[in-house]
Point group: C2
Chain length 243, copies 2
DNA sequence: CGTATCATTGAAAACCGTCAAGAGGGGTGG
DNA sequence: CCACCCCTCTTGACGGTTTTCAATGATACG
């Protein structure tokens, strides 16, 4: 979990004052005038559901900070197999990697809002603002930790353990964004997205969800909204303590 | 691949002048006096084959830079399943993550040599040396890229594709360390280590190696040394272009 | 209200895991 | 120097979890 002890307060008339995700973003520790400066360097943009922000192979000359909606990041193998490396949620920063070209495609799941910066301009700004640099470093370290977790999930967990881990991960991320415990987990992504994230097929994801529902561990309010009824059992499932 | 365009030359009498891995380490861009300063902050140490450097759960109050040998990093699930998240080779830096406690165990595969620094002392030094900070950031970004690659391997590739990817990865890393193309890949780790890294069993790793040997794509010189006979086919296998 | 898309469920097959036995290699001691 | 032993690696047969293929059911959208 990203530490964000330092969140500088903002005067209520600042345009970022109403931003719900500043608290959890890499900009959480920036002062009023720094946020203003960054607003002038970047552009606010939207992406429609299903549309790409960029494609695998595109030149990576912009970085983004995510405000609202959700995206999937994925890579395609030559024969069409897809692997979803992650989901982008409000507050996330996109562009820590220093590659020339994007190694994956970023595609909006829902209508999404984000800020976009020229990479060169952004990096120049970062170089003269060590607080931001530290936040970015911390974000990178956190992403690395998340990636290692996911490697264990993909390498050594069963289908049920993977799905349980995924639900808990989403739950944690949404709680962090909203700043309060939730008992509903939104699933903006499709079953195929989840499957391609967990190294399974959509059928297996569906079957495992049905099993969780049958054992009264979760309830499917709608197709895209899960209510956790037995959090402890779900945690045990995710860690492989149970079947 | 870590960019390391800038490698500062060193007077031949400097103690780091004979270091073969400085070029590929996070210290590649440091000046003579900075290396000297760091030598005084750290301690050179060795770890015997099979012995741990630290355990999963231990307080993470030291960082390391790896000089010689090899290590495996792994996490254990409660029921004993193991996942190897990575292998440490000469030139690697260990301790980018900012966690309080280690999320994995680090264990020497071969007799190993490394430099150890107090995390607090090292971070203080880094804070006042932006070149080093940049190198560390770059190393973190690179590790993230490697981790995402590995996620695709674990999530979407077949046993054969995984092994081919692994052999190519090792080949690339050793070539980078040695600074020249090699046609022999050293496999210091056991089949179980490889299996736990690739999300397979040691039996499957063995079978896939035998298949590669039967198709004349590799030759097993000894158990721990592979000679690549058909690099292009191995690359095609790794990317899923073939069977 | 119809249609396209996505999700669920079922049955059969495939790939890899498990269990088990045998082969090979390296180190030690005679 | 050779023989023995131990450990790892290899190979085989079988079984299980997940995939694949296929059909039905649900949902969203025009």
């Amino acid at each position: 979990m990203l530490a964000c002890n330092v969140v500088l307060p903002l005067p209520p008339d600042h345009p970022c004052a109403s931003c719900e995700v500043r608290r959890v973003s890499v900009f959480h520790a920036l002062a009023c005038h720094e946020l203003t400066a960054l607003r002038n360097l970047g552009t606010r943009m939207t992406v429609e559901a299903g549309h790409p922000l960029f494609h695998q192979g595109d030149a990576a000359n912009r970085v983004y900070t995510f405000v609202a909606g959700s995206m999937r990041l994925y890579r395609l193998l030559p024969d069409g197999r897809r692997h979803v490396t992650g989901f982008i949620l409000p507050g996330d920063f996109l562009g820590i990697s220093r590659e020339e070209n994007h190694a994956f495609t970023a595609e909006a799941i829902e209508p999404s809002i984000l800020w976009s910066f020229s990479r060169a301009v952004f990096e120049a700004y970062v170089d003269s603002h060590s607080t931001l640099k530290d936040s970015l470093f911390q974000a990178a370290a956190h992403e690395l930790q998340v990636a290692h977790n996911q490697m264990v999930v993909l390498g050594r967990k069963t289908a049920m353990e993977r799905l349980a881990s995924f639900l808990l991960e989403l739950n944690d991320r949404f709680e962090r964004i909203d700043g309060a415990p939730l008992d509903q987990i939104a699933l903006p992504m499709s079953r195929s997205d989840i499957a391609d994230y967990l190294g399974l097929t959509k059928e297996t994801v569906s079957r495992m969800l049905s099993q969780l529902r049958a054992s009264r561990i979760v309830r499917l309010d709608t197709l895209n909204c899960v209510e956790v009824r037995d959090l402890q059992t779900l945690r045990n499932l995710a860690e492989g303590y149970l079947s």
